[in-house]
C-alpha cells in the first residue's frame, strides 16, 4: 500500500518560563492509505501535540524538528498559504470537544455547507443536497430537518456526528480524529465507530485515531502506538499489542480497565520539564531494575513490532520464554 504520512524523528517542545517542555520526542510513525492508526496514552503525554503538529496548528512559539512527510512533501517546511490549502481538503481534524467546536450561533446546515462550498467548490443547492446525504449517511435521522438546528438543540452524540460530517466534507486523504467517542453513550459510540470504519473502507483515507477507548481502538485500528511522556513506547499491529503487550506501561494500562482488574498505575506521570536520564516509566514500573534509572531505552524491533524497554534490550535475540512470561503476567 502507498505511504500516506511518514513522521520521522519528530520533536516538539514548548518554551516556558520554567524551561522547555518536551511534549514529543523521537516520534516515528507511518500511515498507509486506507489504514487506521490508533494513538493511545494518558492525558498530557503528547498525543494531541502530535495531531496538531501534523496540521501545523501548534502555537507559534513552539519548537519543532524532524520530518512530517505527507504525500511527498514535508509539512514542516511548507509556507502558510500552502499548508492552508491542505487543511480541511487533504488533512482534516475531528476535534475533541463537540460542545465547543461548533459555532453556537449558526445552524449546523450552514456550517456544513460552508465547508462543502469552500473545499469541493459546490453551488449552494448542490451543497445542500450533499449535506443531507452526508448526515443521512451518518445515521442522523431526518437530516433535512436537522440542518436547520443550532448546536444547542442537538445531543452530544449528534454533535459529534455533525463534526464528523464537517471533517469528511472535504474528502480528506488523512483524517485525524481526536477522541471522537469521549463522553458518548454506547449507541452513539457505535455509530461514530461505524462511520469511521466505513470512511476508511470507502474512500481509502488514512485515519489517525487518538483515543482512551481501548475497545474502540481494538475494533477500528490496524496498527496502534502507545505514547508515554512524549515518546512512543510501543507500536505494532493492534491485536498483537493489546492481546500480548510487551511494554510494562501497556500492560498496566490494560490492567487498569474496569473490565479487567481495575488496578491503577501507581505514581503520577513524569514532569516533561526535567525528564530523567533513564527510562521515564522507571518510578512506576513493576519490572524496573537498577540500571533502568540510568539508561534510557531505545526502540527495539521484534517481529514487526517496536518496544522501548530496557528489559527487552538486554537480550539481543527475541526471547520466546520472555514473551511467554509476559503473556502469563498479563493473562488476557
Amino acid at each position: 500500500m502507498a505511504k500516506l504520512l511518514n513522521i520521522r524523528n519528530f520533536y516538539a517542545s514548548y518554551p516556558t518560563r520554567q524551561g522547555e517542555v518536551k511534549a514529543c520526542k523521537d516520534i516515528n510513525l507511518k500511515i498507509q492509505k486506507g489504514e487506521t492508526i490508533g494513538l493511545i496514552g494518558e492525558t498530557g503525554c503528547g498525543k494531541s501535540t502530535l495531531a496538531l503538529s501534523i496540521l501545523r496548528l501548534l502555537p507559534s512559539n513552539s519548537i519543532v524538528s524532524g520530518e512530517i512527510i505527507f504525500q511527498g512533501q514535508n509539512l514542516l517546511q511548507l509556507g502558510q498559504e500552502e499548508i492552508r490549502k491542505l487543511r480541511g481538503s487533504q488533512i482534516a481534524l475531528i476535534p475533541q470537544s463537540s460542545g465547543t467546536c461548533l459555532n453556537p450561533v449558526l445552524q449546523i446546515g450552514n456550517q456544513i455547507k460552508e465547508t462543502l462550498q469552500l473545499h469541493q467548490k459546490l453551488s449552494f443547492s448542490q451543497a445542500q443536497q450533499k449535506a443531507v446525504t452526508m448526515l443521512d449517511h451518518l445515521n442522523l435521522p431526518d437530516a433535512r430537518k436537522h440542518l436547520k438546528y443550532y448546536p444547542h438543540q442537538l445531543s452530544g452524540g449528534m454533535k459529534q456526528r455533525v463534526l464528523a460530517a464537517l471533517g469528511l466534507a472535504g474528502n480528506p486523504a488523512l483524517l485525524i480524529a481526536d477522541e471522537p467517542t469521549k463522553g458518548l453513550d454506547a449507541v452513539a459510540r457505535y455509530q461514530v465507530a461505524e462511520t469511521l470504519r466505513q470512511l476508511s473502507h470507502e474512500t481509502g483515507a488514512g485515519t489517525l485515531l487518538i483515543t482512551h477507548d481501548l475497545k474502540l481502538a481494538y475494533y477500528l485500528c490496524n496498527w496502534i502506538a502507545v505514547m508515554y511522556a512524549g515518546e512512543i513506547i510501543e507500536q505494532g499491529p493492534v491485536h498483537e499489542v493489546l492481546e500480548h503487550p510487551l511494554h510494562p506501561y501497556t500492560v498496566a494500562l490494560i490492567n487498569s480497565l474496569p473490565g479487567r482488574k481495575l488496578t491503577p498505575i501507581p505514581g503520577t506521570s513524569p514532569d516533561l520539564l526535567t525528564p530523567s536520564t533513564g527510562c521515564y516509566f522507571y518510578s512506576r514500573c513493576s519490572r524496573a531494575e537498577a540500571d533502568c534509572n540510568l539508561k534510557h531505552p531505545v526502540m527495539q524491533e521484534y517481529s514487526g513490532r517496536q518496544v522501548r524497554c530496557n528489559y527487552f534490550a538486554s537480550s539481543k535475540e527475541f526471547d520466546k520464554n520472555l514473551l511467554y512470561r509476559t503473556l502469563q503476567e498479563t493473562a488476557i
Binding site: E42, T43, P141, A186, V187, Y219, L257, P258, I265
Partner: protein, 301 residues
Amino acid sequence: MIKTYYTGHFRKQQFNAVDGVSFSIASGETLGLIGESGCGKSTLGRMLMQLIPPTSGQVIFKGQDITRVRRNELKQVRKSMQIVFQSPQSALNPYIRVMDSVCEPMQVQGYPNNNKEHFQQAIKLMETVGLDPKHLYRYPRELSGGQIQRVALARVLSLQPELIIADEPTSMLDVSVQAHVLQLLRDIKNNQGIACLFISHDLDVVQCMSDRIAVMYRGQIVELGNAEEITRHPRHPYTQLLVDLFTSLESKPATINSYKNQCSATGCSFYPFCPRGDKDCLKQPDLREVGAGHFVSCFKI
C-alpha cells in the same frame, strides 16, 4: 437502615424526563444506574438530592419523606446525602483554595464546630483520598482532572454521609486515572459502609462498582436486578443491546439497524427499535419480577 424510595413524574413542557420511577437502596449498597445520554439519569440523581424539585412522588430517606420537609430541615438531611458531579472542574469554585472548598460544607453544617478542627479534618480527608495535604493550599486550576475529582470526593466525605450520589464521576477522566478514582470510591464505600447511587453510561464501570444495576431508557427503568445477573443474562431487549455493544463492537447487534432517535407517543418506549415488538407493545409495560429480585418491563419475555 437507609431506604430511598422514589415514585413520580417530572414534567416540563409535557415531557417526562423521569417517568414513574421507583427503586430503593439499602444501607451500604451500591445501585448502578445506566442508560443512554438524555434518558433522565442525572435528573433522577438530582431529584434525590432535592436539587430539582420533582413534579410528583416521594423520596423517602431514613423513613422521612424529604420532598415535603422544610428548607432548614432539608439542610439536616443533605448532611447525610452528598453528590459527586460529572465535571469536577465546574464543581469547585476556581477562585478559592482547595482547603476552603473542602472545609465549606463543614462550616455550613457547623460540624465539627470550630475552624481548627475543620482544618485537621481536611488534612485527614486529603489523606483518605490519597492526596498530599499540601494540595490544600492550591487552586483547582493547578490540579489535574483526577486530583480535582479526588478533592471533590474529599469534600463529599467531609460530613460523613450515608448516601453518595455519583453522577458519572469518571466520564471526563482517562483510563488510568479512572481506575484510581473508581478504586478509591470503592474502598471508601466498603470501609465506611456508605450507600451509593452510581450513575454512568459505561457498562464496564457500572458493572465493577455496583451490587445491583438499574437500566434506564427514556425516563423509565426497564430492567433492575443483581449486577451479575443483568450483565450475564440481560432480559430486556434494550439491556441486551447495551451488553452486546459493550462486549464487542465486532458483532453487529440486530437492533442497531433500526435504531433511530424517534419518540413513540404511547406504549413501550423501546417499541420502535425493538426486534421483538408487536401490537401488544402499544400498551405501557410495567416492571414485572422474572427472577429473584430481577425486574423487567417487557411483554415479550
